[in-house]
């Protein structure tokens, strides 16, 4: 088993990324801790350690329930008690890291965004846009058959990924690495690109119709593509070969996600079902049936234990990935649900609907926390800010809106696009927003307190 996971109180979970990691009470650990890495969103501590045979590996301690009110000492004691890699003398470092995480979480600055740049390189409407993990670059796909790579800081166009013979509809970075890009096109192919040079590494051919969704796994080893030919396919990034074809849906696949561990794929289809697939075998593990309309959007939560599906039957459903049972049905929308999204810790979810509203739900209780009312057109895309305090929605009324999650009030309206907005994204820091519109432009919005990131990676490093 790739990951042995134990959940303990405070939601602390330890994920070991290697096999054969064993520990015995009272024994000297067989592994040597090399350094701590800090992960802000969702809060967690990554331990980099060296095995006896010299291999360097990582494992993460997820602090998903960390809040500014958490009792730090209790948490530290628990971590030290449970994690053999962390000894008593690391308590100070651990405390420092946890306070840093809490500080990051507590950052609720109600900053306002202003328009930073308008990018007019595309000559046809945009389809999608996406940041890399650090937020230093982002990519935009367009109906003009190109994908372009942009520098967030300057707004310059770094690369043009030209080669598709039709609309570039789906794009993705291989986050967290950010060195590769995959693009799915209506020309029935997907292409892998080098994000730094713009070279096409592989062309993934095999689908019979348009590709509408693509995704990297977190490990960056696989790419999955979903197509209108009712299949999803799994490709090897290194070789560009097809690993598996996920056949089973009876209608178009419109949504596709890997879980955090990268061992499962979730596909949503117009056949009213979603399916969970095992990556290794390429077999369908569960069919999530229950919706009475086409699935519009799907997502795993961070832990990968449950997932959510939004449907045009106006509901979204929470599913247990392990047994494929529906745990909760979120109702309330008066029109189709077009997009769904978890926050980074997975305790909130937001649904965007064609009834011009979005709704925030508590995942635990299934209760609707707030309704985001204000848009005058259908909301096609919704996303949480990384720290989970804000939500951004993109609508056909040519505006994007920022919302407070807990109160549901509209914090800001990002106006300026002259046509409907198809896509929007927060960067990892939460201080930059990009919006892609039908008016052929992409706009960068930055907050007032923007300061250039001084970190190369998303991790703070604490050398041992």
């Amino acid at each position: 088993m790739a990951a042995a996971e134990r959940s303990v109180q405070c939601g602390l979970s330890v994920t070991v990324g290697v096999e054969g990691c064993s520990r015995g009470p009272g024994h000297q650990p067989v592994m040597k801790l090399k350094r701590f890495l800090l992960r802000y969103f969702p809060p967690g501590i990554v331990l980099e350690y060296q095995r006896r045979n010299g291999d360097v590996e990582t494992k993460s301690i997820d602090l998903l329930n960390l809040t500014p009110e958490t009792d730090v000492e209790v948490l530290i004691n628990q971590i030290v008690f449970e994690e053999p890699l962390i000894s008593e003398n690391k308590k100070d470092t651990l405390r420092k890291m946890i306070y840093k995480l809490m500080e990051k979480i507590d950052n609720k600055d109600s900053q306002r965004f202003y328009l930073f740049k308008i990018l007019r390189a595309h000559i046809l409407p945009l389809t999608n846009c996406a940041f890399n993990k650090s937020g230093s670059k982002f990519i935009t796909g367009s109906y003009d058959r190109t994908c372009r790579v942009w520098d967030t800081l300057s707004g310059e166009e770094l690369l043009t990924l030209d080669g598709h013979k039709n609309v570039v509809y789906a794009i993705a970075f291989n986050n967290p690495f950010g060195d590769k890009i995959v693009t799915g096109s209506f020309d029935k192919t997907a292409k892998l690109w080098d994000a730094n040079t713009g070279q096409c590494i592989h062309t993934l051919k095999g689908h019979h119709t348009e590709i509408v969704c693509v995704a990297f796994n977190v490990q960056g080893t696989h790419v999955a593509t979903g197509s209108m030919d009712n299949t999803a396919k799994l490709w090897d990034v290194e070789t560009g070969h097809q690993i598996a074809s996920l056949d089973g849906h009876s209608a178009e696949i419109v949504s596709l996600n890997f879980n955090t561990d990268g061992d499962k794929i979730l596909t949503g289809s117009f056949d009213n079902t979603a399916k969970v697939w095992d990556v290794r075998s390429g077999r369908c593990v569960h069919t999530l049936a229950g919706h009475r309309g086409e699935i519009s959007s799907t997502q795993f939560d961070f832990t990968g234990d449950y997932c959510i599906t939004g449907s045009i039957d106006r509901t979204c459903k929470l599913w247990d990935v392990n047994n494929g049972q529906c745990m909760e049905t979120m109702r309330g929308h008066s029109d189709e649900v077009l997009d769904v999204c978890f926050n980074t810790t997975g305790n909130r979810l937001v649904t965007a609907s064609a009834d011009c509203t979005a709704r925030v739900y508590n995942v635990m209780t299934g209760a609707c926390i707030s309704i985001l009312i204000g848009h005058e057109g259908e909301i096609s895309k919704v996303q949480f800010s990384p720290n989970g305090y804000k939500i951004i929605t993109a609508s056909s009324d040519r505006t994007c809106r920022l919302w407070s999650v807990e109160t549901g009030e509209c914090l800001q309206v990002l106006e300026g696009h002259s046509d409907e907005i198809f896509s929007c994204a927060f960067n990892y820091e939460g201080d930059t927003v990009i919006t892609g519109s039908k008016d052929n432009t992409c706009r960068i919005w930055k907050d007032n307190f923007f300061t250039p990131a001084d970190e190369d990676d998303q991790y703070d490093r604490y050398e041992d």
Binding site: N65, V74, D187, N322, E336, N362
Partner: protein, 691 residues
């Protein structure tokens, strides 16, 4: 102010009325703003999104409709569409046409007739510069005809009409006939034809009645062969215009006009749409069909009224002779020509086209013996109701006289007594009364002649009311009264084999049973104490016997199951073997079932409890949706975890006594009891709130 008014209107009128109906919007080709979308169809023909919301047009087919590479044109270049404004033609506004005065139905009829009605140019020019000059009288007659009718006329009706029309009719003679009328005919157009060449304008001195003049005109017309067709067309057109609306469509039919065709029907044989209508008539309220309000009388694309009353024998009986068909007019003309002009000369105050009441009005005489034509097949929804005798008596009919005589003879009391109905109506007994019947007859009435009349009716009225009702039911007819009238003919709709009575009977009662019939007949006789009429039965042969037998078998059935009603019968049909009595007894003896309500408290899913470290609501490892095989495995896992935690706790407590704060353990405390997680956990799960 405005707000309060709108609120008041809302409360008063209910929901605001949309300007257009949904269907009208469809007809107009309009769509609401929200529905403006492009449907994207999948290869199999279904719409990509269930409600066809806006999507990228053609995106899924590999194309994109936004133009050629971001431009509005094509590969060949952009070419604007040509457009010419109609602004310069605005002065050429058409004058009002006859069609402008037609309502929807008339317009439809007119269009379907493929005739064009227009005033000819020469008539237009002859009229004044008034914009209304081409418009005619309010009833749609062209101005020219008006002039022709009322030239030099100073009678009362003319003056009335003149007053009612906006423009004074022409007092002058008609213009000179133009020669080139018939020669230049590029388009087949019918209009108010000019008078034929031989025609002379009427003058007061001659005092010729108008119908006669029409005859003259027709005669003159016939001389000119080329204009025959034209003239007959004219007459037809005239008739159509002159006729009042008689198709009973829509609202406000004929406005209670005395000239309406419906009112020329005698009151006793009037078509009523509802019993309320009959009541109105009895109460002498409202004669005209304007009281119809909204309603459509026709069905299946053909006009019931026309079918009923425009029978050949009586066609246009209510029209003025001048508006009849040609041959009729010829005969009328011949008849009139025998009469001296002086006799038929209208007196002052008469309106041409309308005869005096005391004159030789054939129609008014015939109406008394008017019989309705055969009802067309499939006709329903209109009921012929005899008017009440009293009402009719006031109008001096034969029945009235009979009734008055009867009342004079026997007094009011007997008039109302149903026992004397036979005498009053002059009914005769159908069969010769047998001696038994005479014995069974009631005590003799005071007068001898009454007794002999009663003899025929007596046995019937001795039947108890209940049995009578059963008998009526058994006859298989529906006697609907008053408001329960079967106005839409729902009952008739379920009778197949309309053309074949034998088939129809077989359909209604499929099992003839003669023996059963005899038994039933005897039982009925016993039950009602009526020992009749074997002759009546014996006389029946063949089909008649079968049908009667069927009726009576149903009598028996109805007597037996009357209390269970229709539901029982349908049930019985489906379950012929069911023991109803037993079931009813059981039902009566058993108690009504108790209503129970089960309330299951909401609990978070087990997975979610694990995710947030909340104690599981069902600690036995049971999950709402978990498979049955899971619990033992889960239990084992829990035990292992518990054991490990125990060992760890003991080890840490032994090795590290300096640690003052033992870490709170996972879900299960050492004692095996569930511990309440710290408050911060709840805060993290449920947000800031304390709940």
């Amino acid at each position: 102010m405005r707000r309060s008014r709108s609120e008041g209107a809302k409360t008063f009128l209910g929901q605001a009325v949309a300007r257009y109906d949904v269907d009208e919007l469809d007809d107009l080709g309009k769509r609401s703003k929200r529905e403006e979308y492009v449907e994207v169809k999948r290869p199999d023909g279904t719409v990509a999104k269930a409600r066809g919301e806006r999507t990228f047009y053609g995106a899924f087919e590999g194309g994109f409709s936004a133009g050629y590479w971001g431009t509005v044109g094509s590969k060949e270049g952009w070419e604007p569409a040509s457009f010419s404004s109609s602004r310069s033609k605005r002065h050429a506004e058409a004058a009002l046409q006859v069609e402008d005065f037609m309502d929807e139905e008339d317009l439809r009829d007119h269009r379907s007739s493929r005739k064009t009605i227009a005033a000819r140019r020469e008539f237009e020019s002859a009229q004044g510069p008034s914009p209304n000059s081409s418009a005619g009288l309010p009833n749609g007659l062209p101005r020219q005809l008006e002039a022709e009718l009322f030239t030099g006329d100073d009678r009362l009706g003319t003056r009335l009409l003149r007053a009612s029309s906006l423009v004074t009719p022409f007092e002058t003679a008609l213009p000179e006939p133009a020669i080139e009328i018939s020669s230049v005919k590029p388009k087949k157009s019918y209009g108010c034809a000019r008078p034929p060449p031989g025609y002379q304008a009427p003058s007061e001195a001659f005092g010729v009645e108008w119908p006669q003049q029409t005859g003259k005109r027709l005669a003159a017309t016939l001389k000119n062969v080329s204009q025959v067709a034209n003239s007959s067309a004219l007459e037809a057109e005239l008739e159509r215009l002159w006729r009042s609306k008689n198709d009973l469509h829509g609202i406000g039919y004929t406005l209670g006009s005395r000239f309406c065709s419906a009112n020329s029907v005698p009151n006793s044989r009037r078509l009523y749409m509802s019993s309320a209508r009959g009541k109105n008539l009895a109460a002498k309220q409202g004669i005209g069909y304007a009281q119809f309000g909204t309603g459509v009388l026709d069905q299946d694309e053909y006009d019931a009224w026309e079918e009923v009353y425009d029978h050949e024998t009586d066609k246009h009986s209510h029209y003025h002779p001048s508006l009849r068909d040609e041959e009729v007019e010829e005969t009328a003309h011949a008849a009139l020509s025998d009469v001296k002009p002086a006799a038929s000369m209208p007196q002052t105050g008469d309106v041409p086209g309308f005869v005096r009441a005391g004159g030789q009005d054939k129609e008014s005489q015939d109406l008394r013996h008017w019989h309705p034509p055969p009802v067309p097949r499939g006709y329903k929804g209109v009921h012929l109701i005899e008017i009440s005798p009293l009402q009719e008596a006031e109008e001096g009919s034969m029945e009235h006289r009979k009734l008055m005589e009867f009342r004079k003879k026997h007094g009011q009391q007997r008039l109302l007594d149903p026992r004397y109905r036979a005498e009053l109506l002059g009914e005769q007994s159908r069969a010769e009364p047998s001696p038994e019947n005479d014995i069974a007859a009631p005590p003799a009435p005071p007068e001898a002649d009454e007794a002999c009349m009663q003899r025929s009716a007596a046995p019937l009225w001795r039947v108890p009311d209940q049995h009578k009702q059963n008998l009526l039911n058994a006859l298989g007819r529906h006697f609907v009264m008053g408001q329960t009238q079967d106005m839409d003919g729902a009952a008739a709709r379920h009778e197949p084999f309309k053309n074949d009575p034998s088939k129809q009977q077989r359909y209604a009662k499929p099992v003839p049973d003669y023996r059963r019939f005899e038994i039933v007949w005897a039982s009925i006789n016993r039950s009602i104490g009526w020992t009749p009429a074997p002759p009546f039965c014996l006389a029946m042969e063949g089909k008649a016997a079968v049908s009667e037998a069927l009726k009576d078998s149903q009598v028996e059935r109805d007597v037996e199951f009357a209390e269970f009603g229709r539901v029982y019968r349908s049930f019985r049909q489906q379950h012929p073997e069911a023991d109803i009595v037993k079931a009813l007894e059981e039902k009566a003896s058993s108690q009504a079932p108790l209503l129970r309500r089960t309330a299951v408290p909401w609990t978070p899913d087990k997975l979610l409890c694990r995710r947030w470290g909340v104690p599981e609501p069902k600690p036995g490892g049971f999950s709402d949706h978990a498979p049955a095989a899971l619990p033992p495995k889960q239990k084992k896992y829990n035990e292992q975890v518990k054991g490990k935690d125990h060992a760890k706790a003991s080890a840490s407590s032994s090795t590290g006594p300096s640690d003052p704060d033992p870490v709170p353990h996972a879900n299960v405390a050492p004692g095996g009891e569930l511990t309440r997680p710290p408050k911060s956990l709840f805060a993290s799960i449920f947000g800031e709130s304390e709940e």
